[in-house]
């Protein structure tokens, strides 16, 4: 697995990001001084146990949530400090989303769902590009179907097509295979890999599945709101090993804390 682009620029970057929820006694710090860069044209997975802050990191990177401190940039645009209108426009124009479920609007056909971001923007999607994605995802004969008439895997493939339709700067995928059977999940992951290899798409994926993480070029591990590991060219086994090791590390740290 090689990357298409020899010169790596940064697509998304977080610099000293802090994020806390609640206040006083009940305050939970979700991100503590996180700094990370995601290379353009690369497929990066963010892993970590529940409550590690991996989803929060993604939400902050994607302009769905605001940061308390630090800056987030997407391409040459600074995300931090933008108002709702600007954030909305940024998401529409520069970001593609794939969620675990509820990716599609029920009243729209598969094709209408794919071109939804363009429709919202009031522009027309590039027909050749759309054709190419549809072909790659093998959705040509499903275009006029409503989401309820599609299988879970097909629905998620439509979501992938939608995410790529506007050629966004970056695609954020939040547990894209979480709701799928193994075979459908593999199809989706193969497509994501392919879109990075063939189209130079930047993808940041949150997952807790080592098998899914193995499709990525790089895995970033998060625990207690901090980046604890950064691994290149992962395989399922290396990820599992790292996770085991990493759980021991966390447990040790906790023991130390309790002892102190």
């Amino acid at each position: 697995m090689s990357t298409a682009s020899p010169v790596k620029t940064t697509a998304v970057a977080a610099q000293g990001v802090w994020k806390a929820y609640g206040s006083g006694e009940a305050q939970v710090v979700a991100l503590r001084d996180v700094s990370v860069e995601f290379a353009s044209g690369a497929f990066t997975a963010i892993m970590g146990p529940s409550g590690s802050g991996k989803s929060t990191l993604m939400h902050c990177l994607a302009g769905l949530d605001t940061t308390d401190r630090g800056t987030v940039t997407i391409g040459d645009a600074t995300v931090s400090g933008l108002g709702d209108k600007a954030l909305t426009k940024l998401r529409r124009d520069k970001i593609g989303f794939i969620f675990q479920q509820f990716n599609l609007l029920p009243p729209l056909t598969a094709e209408e769902n794919i071109t939804l971001p363009a429709a919202i923007a009031g522009t027309k999607a590039d027909p050749d590009w759309i054709k190419q994605i549809i072909h790659t995802l093998d959705l040509a004969d499903r275009l006029s179907h409503k989401p309820t008439e599609l299988s879970g895997g097909q629905q998620q493939r439509v979501a992938c097509a939608r995410a790529l339709a506007t050629r966004p700067e970056v695609v954020f995928a939040d547990e894209p295979t979480g709701n799928l059977d193994t075979r459908s999940g593999a199809e989706v992951l193969r497509f994501l890999r392919k879109s990075v290899d063939d189209f130079g798409q930047t993808i940041v994926m949150v997952t807790h599945d080592p098998g899914a993480a193995a499709y990525a070029d790089r895995v970033v591990f998060l625990a207690d709101g901090q980046i604890v590991e950064d691994m290149n060219d992962p395989t399922a086994d290396s990820v599992i090993d790292k996770m085991k090791h990493f759980e021991e590390l966390v447990a040790a740290a906790r023991d130390q804390e309790e002892a102190a």
Binding site: S55, H59, L64, D65, D84, K85, T88, K89, R91, R92, D93, G96, F97, F99, Q100, Q101, F102, N103, L104, L105, P106, P107, L108, L116, P117, A119, I120, A121, G122, T148, R162
Partner: protein, 843 residues
């Protein structure tokens, strides 16, 4: 189980408040109707009872007064000799005869005194001062003296010392000096806005009993008097009542105004209740849908189906009870307010005595019953939620519409058949009931059909708004749940259908009047009066003066006899014209057989269908009895083609003297070619200066006059629409809030991938406007259908033209858009403010 229900209710406050509002409105109007009627009745009874204070017995003719309608009370008179008999009965301390009837008095402005009725003329005697109080001057002592009521002074512009001209239908004009002014007990000017004149008994008899020494009523005083003793003395020709009985009977007649108002408000209330049913069904369907997982969980942990039904019904019962009690309370206030309003505007400031009748509790029963029954269907559905649904994602696949459509078509057909039978008089005396029931049933049926209709109609309406993407999404959303969209729109549909139906009839009536005037009436000016308690007439000499005007080419005149005449033993209205051929020309009447020229004195002219109805042919003779008792054998001299303006029985001018009022009622003036119509109108106006009952109008003004009352009716019906709109708005808000809640994730997704707040707001607004427009379009269609059906049924009665109230239809559509925009404000704001992260969170 119940605790879970109430805790749940607390978390759904806003929706429950909105739903309650609908129940409150319905209950309020029903209660107000009951209270208005009862309060007016009590108030009127109180006043009348005052008037009967000291009266211990009342003697009237045993003849049913209703049988002797109009201007001929002759049959119900009590000869003076009877008064003497009564005075001789043991225990009678005093007895006096009362003469009263309608008198026309000419006011300061040359027109008749009295806002809506002729003045009541009566004989001022010793008893008159019992209840009436003389404010100024004294009672009449000579035949040319009169005492008038305070209301008369106010209405006529005349006062003590002035001279007033008065006449009756049987007595010519005479001048009277006003020698006194009286008020009623409690320092009021009138009982219910009427004007009164008190004459000496002899003069009252000249005016009202054609000079006969007789009375209409004998009032008896005497603490120990027995009605039986009086009855024995006067014989079976007379009816003897106690003062209380007579008082009650009199009060019944007076309370009619309040009754009519009561019925109108009861109608408003029932429409509000009917519309609320949809709102309640919708709300509970929504609540059940939202609670699906919760209910499934309850079922999974062992709740029985019955318990689930009970938990939903308990919620409905709480709403029903609270809202109905509130509605009843507000209804009491509204009823009291309305009674005060009626009293001050139509009853001469009658003191209002608030009365909350036991029937007002019906409003409570209706409110609670409707709420609980409406919730029954969603409740039973809720109990069908399988326990596994707790474990699954809530998916509500759209249910097939076949069953509901078949049911709707069947119910609509039943309603339509009832309407048709009711309108074609096939239900005997139940025609109106059948028609109204049919309309109600048809509404239910059409409501059941709305889901299937919503598909094409929503698509069509939505197409108009699909120019933007958020508009297109709004359209799609409106079409997603046809049942919900339909039931929401139904509230508006029913209200719009009712007013459109009535508006269609009114515009058809206007068109018919215009058509008759423009096409069938070959005259330029019309002389007639506004029909009140009596038909306005003018002097035959005045008619002659008009005919003599140099610029008048021809005049059609009309005399009429509406009461008391019989043809072949059946009560029949008779008409006559001094110059029938000319009049027929002007009315576009055509002769089918025979001739109307030189009509002999015993000649009779009738239209074809009336003749056929009685099996009469040209040359046949028929016995005719006139109102004055004169009988004659009349021969049919001509048969007319049927035409609305000339249908009926025409007698020769020589018979006019036998009419109750031997004066012309109307004149239709044809102005000579080239003459100025306006100038002639002025000349006729001058001639009519001394005719208080009639005035002259050109054709356009005439149509306006004829239809102005309908405009008032229409305006008051719009109030109904306004009321239903309030409920409809609540319904739309309810549905939209639910849509926003249900589609939280969709909205979150849309916002995540770049939909702006403005776009989200527009999407909800379009959905709202489409729902409202759908209701309005459907309502307009149903209303037009309703109006057309009634117009068709009335075509033979003369409602020949069908016309659509275009202005109002456009108005209703605009109103529907406005309602849609208004209803969308809160739900759209909610959608725009949605927290994207929360919406898409699934952990």
């Amino acid at each position: 189980m119940l605790r879970a229900t109430f805790k749940g209710m607390a978390s759904r406050k806003a929706r429950l408040v909105l739903t309650s509002l609908a129940v409150v409105l319905g209950t309020m109007f029903v209660a107000a109707a009951m209270i208005l009627t009862a309060t007016m009745e009590k108030s009127v009874t109180g006043v009348i009872a005052d008037a009967f204070t000291g009266v211990d017995a009342v003697v009237t003719s045993a003849e049913d007064p209703a049988a002797a309608q109009g201007n001929t009370p002759a049959a119900t008179l009590i000869p003076a000799a009877v008064l003497d008999t009564v005075r001789g009965v043991d225990g009678v301390e005093a007895a006096d005869g009362d003469v009263s009837g309608q008198v026309n008095a000419i006011g300061d402005d040359g027109k008749l005194v009295g806002a809506f009725a002729p003045t009541i003329g009566f004989n001022w005697n010793d008893q008159s001062t019992g209840y009436n109080e003389i404010r100024e001057g004294r009672g009449p002592e000579a035949e040319n003296e009169v005492i008038v009521s305070g209301q008369f002074v106010t209405d006529s512009g005349l006062g003590l010392g002035d001279t007033v001209t008065a006449y009756s239908y049987s007595a010519d004009r005479a001048d009277y000096e006003i020698v006194g002014v009286f008020g009623l007990g409690g320092d009021r000017d009138s009982l219910a806005g009427e004007t009164q004149m008190g004459f000496t008994t002899t003069e009252a008899q000249r005016l009202l009993t054609e000079g006969e020494n007789a009375y209409m009523t004998i009032y008896v005083e005497g603490d120990d008097v027995s009605t039986d003793a009086i009855a024995d003395a006067v014989g079976a020709d007379y009816r003897v009542q106690t003062g209380d009985e007579a008082s009650e009977e009199a009060a019944e007649g007076f309370a009619v105004v309040a009754d009519v108002m009561g019925y109108i408000f009861l109608g408003f209330g029932l429409v509000a209740v009917f519309v609320s049913v949809f709102l309640i069904i919708n709300t509970f369907t929504i609540i059940v849908a939202q609670r699906q997982r919760e209910l499934a969980l309850l079922r999974a942990i062992g709740a029985a189906r019955g318990q689930v039904v009970a938990s939903v019904l308990a919620e409905a019962a709480v709403i029903g009870v609270l809202a109905s009690i509130l509605g009843l309370g507000l209804g009491v206030l509204l009823g009291w307010g309305l009674a005060s309003l009626v009293s001050s505007t139509a009853m001469g400031g009658l003191p209002v005595q608030l009365q909350v009748p036991a029937t007002a509790l019906w409003a409570l029963a209706v409110g609670i019953g409707v709420t609980v029954l409406s919730a029954l269907v969603p409740a039973v559905k809720a109990s069908g939620v399988p326990p596994v649904a707790a474990m699954r994602e809530a998916v509500n696949p759209p249910k097939p519409l076949r069953g509901i459509t078949i049911a709707g078509a069947t119910v609509t057909a039943v309603g339509a058949v009832l309407v048709a039978l009711g309108l074609t008089d096939n239900l005997g005396g139940l025609g109106l009931t059948g028609f109204l029931a049919g309309v109600g049933i048809a509404f239910v049926g059409i409501t059941l059909l709305t889901p299937i209709l919503s598909k094409p109609l929503v698509g069509l309406l939505g197409a108009v708004m699909s120019w933007s993407f958020s508009g297109r999404l709004g359209k799609l959303n409106a079409g997603r749940n046809p049942r919900r969209t339909a039931i929401t729109a139904s509230a508006l549909m029913i209200a719009v259908a009712l007013v459109t139906g009535i508006a269609t009839l009114v515009s058809s009536f206007k068109a018919t009047t215009e058509e008759l005037t423009d096409q069938n009436l070959n005259s330029d000016l019309i002389v007639m009066g506004q029909q009140g308690a009596n038909i306005p007439t003018f002097a035959p000499e005045t008619l002659a003066e008009i005919k003599a005007l140099p610029d008048v080419a021809a005049v059609g005149d009309l005399y009429g006899e509406f009461f008391g005449a019989e043809v072949d033993g059946r009560p029949t209205a008779l008409f006559a014209s001094e110059d029938l051929p000319t009049s027929l020309d002007i009315y576009s009447g055509t002769v089918a057989e025979g001739s109307v020229a030189d009509l002999p004195d015993d000649g009779l002219v009738v239209n074809e269908s009336a003749a056929a109805d009685r099996d009469l042919a040209l040359g046949d003779t028929v016995p005719v009895t006139f109102a004055d008792g004169e009988t004659a054998e009349l021969r049919i001299a001509a048969i007319l083609d049927d035409s609305l303006l000339t249908d009926g029985w025409w007698v020769a001018p020589a018979q006019i003297e036998h009419f109750t009022v031997p004066k012309p009622m109307q004149a239709y003036i044809q102005v000579a070619d080239g003459a100025d119509v306006g100038a002639v109108e002025d000349q006729v106006d001058d001639i009519l200066a001394d005719e208080p009952e009639v005035s002259v109008a050109n054709n356009a003004d005439f149509v306006d006059q004829q239809t102005s009352q309908l405009d008032t009716l229409l305006a008051s019906v719009q109030v109904l629409l306004a009321l239903a709109i309030i409920i409809a708005i609540i319904g739309v808000v309810n549905t939209l809030v639910l849509s926003v809640l249900e589609r939280t994730r969709e909205l979150g997704l849309l916002r995540a991938i770049g939909m702006t707040r403005g776009q989200a707001r527009r999407m909800i607004t379009v959905e709202s406007v489409i729902i409202c427009l759908f209701g309005a379009v459907l309502g307009i269609a149903v209303g037009i259908g309703l109006g057309w059906t009634v117009q068709q049924a009335l075509e033979e009665e003369g409602l020949t033209s069908f016309a659509l109230p275009w202005g109002l239809i456009v108005g209703y559509l605009v109103a529907a858009v406005a309602v849609g925009l208004l209803a969308a404000i809160a739900p759209a704001a909610r959608a725009a403010k949605l927290n994207v992260l929360n919406a898409i969170a699934y952990e």
